[in-house]
């Protein structure tokens, strides 16, 4: 997503992992951990000109 934002032309792209995010069901949580699944907050700005 970070790269997609930059490719689209966004500037000041920032990302922060969302603390506390987890899947509720254990089976889904285990699979998500195996694939490094995380929730992330992205911010970015469209250039003014």
């Amino acid at each position: 997503m970070f790269v997609l934002l930059e490719d689209a032309g966004f500037k000041r792209v920032r990302s922060t992992i969302v603390p506390g995010f987890a899947f509720r069901k254990e089976s889904t949580r285990d699979a998500a951990e195996a694939y490094g699944v995380k929730a992330v907050l992205f911010t970015a700005q469209k250039p003014a000109t």
Binding site: A8, G20, K25, L41, T43, A44, K46
Partner: protein
């Protein structure tokens, strides 16, 4: 579009349709039966986990809070100012739209876009009872039904990961933002390439 890209798109089209149906079914289920059990945390429990202010959750319509199905808190960095126009991509039952609308104030407004027309009506009703100027358009995030440069801020919460065409979605967000406009989006990402069995499983897309 190149021949390879066209071939890929044609191969993905049937699966994309199935996944769209499953996503619609899942989020409709959350809205109609928020007391149910899902793969993800939802409702007030999830919102509190992500740092939503209790005052917001106490003040918002219970139906909007109970159906909340986000993955984080885009309001932490949205910095919405009074008078601004906000796009809530995938507005669902409307909780994030309502919070954004309170920040934008009476001179601002919120535009929701959601795949599900029933959810759009629900979000508009919740916003109206919360004193928020909101209009919701049924539409796809890959073709946002807004003109160029229509909004000051984009928020979204756990929605873009549901698209097969994420690059296209991001390009659309860039298009609808005014010059200098900002984006604050929470979403799910994976560090590793998902296996084909996961990619082809509509139930996991909707979880």
């Amino acid at each position: 579009m190149t021949d390879v890209a066209r071939l890929h798109a044609e191969e993905q089209a049937p699966l994309e349709g199935v996944i769209k149906g499953e996503v619609l079914r899942m989020y409709q289920e959350v809205a109609e039966h928020p007391e149910g059990e899902f793969h993800f945390y939802h409702g007030r429990q999830a919102a509190e986990l992500f740092g939503y202010e209790r005052e917001w959750l106490d003040r918002a319509p219970p139906g909007a809070v109970a159906s909340f199905a986000g993955v984080g808190n885009p309001h932490l960095r949205s910095q919405i100012r009074p008078g601004e126009t906000v796009l809530d991509l995938g507005s669902g039952a409307g909780l994030d739209s309502i919070i954004a609308g309170w920040q934008a104030g009476p001179t601002g407004r919120v535009i929701g876009v959601d795949l599900n027309p029933t959810m759009c009506l629900k979000a508009q009703a919740h916003a109206a009872t919360s004193g928020v100027r909101m209009v919701c358009h049924e539409g796809r995030m890959e073709d946002i039904p807004l003109p160029d440069g229509a909004v000051d801020v984009v928020i979204s919460n756990g929605v873009i990961n549901l698209s097969f065409r994420k690059r296209r979605v991001i390009q659309e967000l860039f298009r609808v933002l005014k010059p200098g406009g900002r984006l604050s989006v929470t979403d799910i990402v994976s560090a590793k390439q998902l296996s084909q069995s996961i990619v082809n499983d509509p139930k996991l897309w909707a979880s």
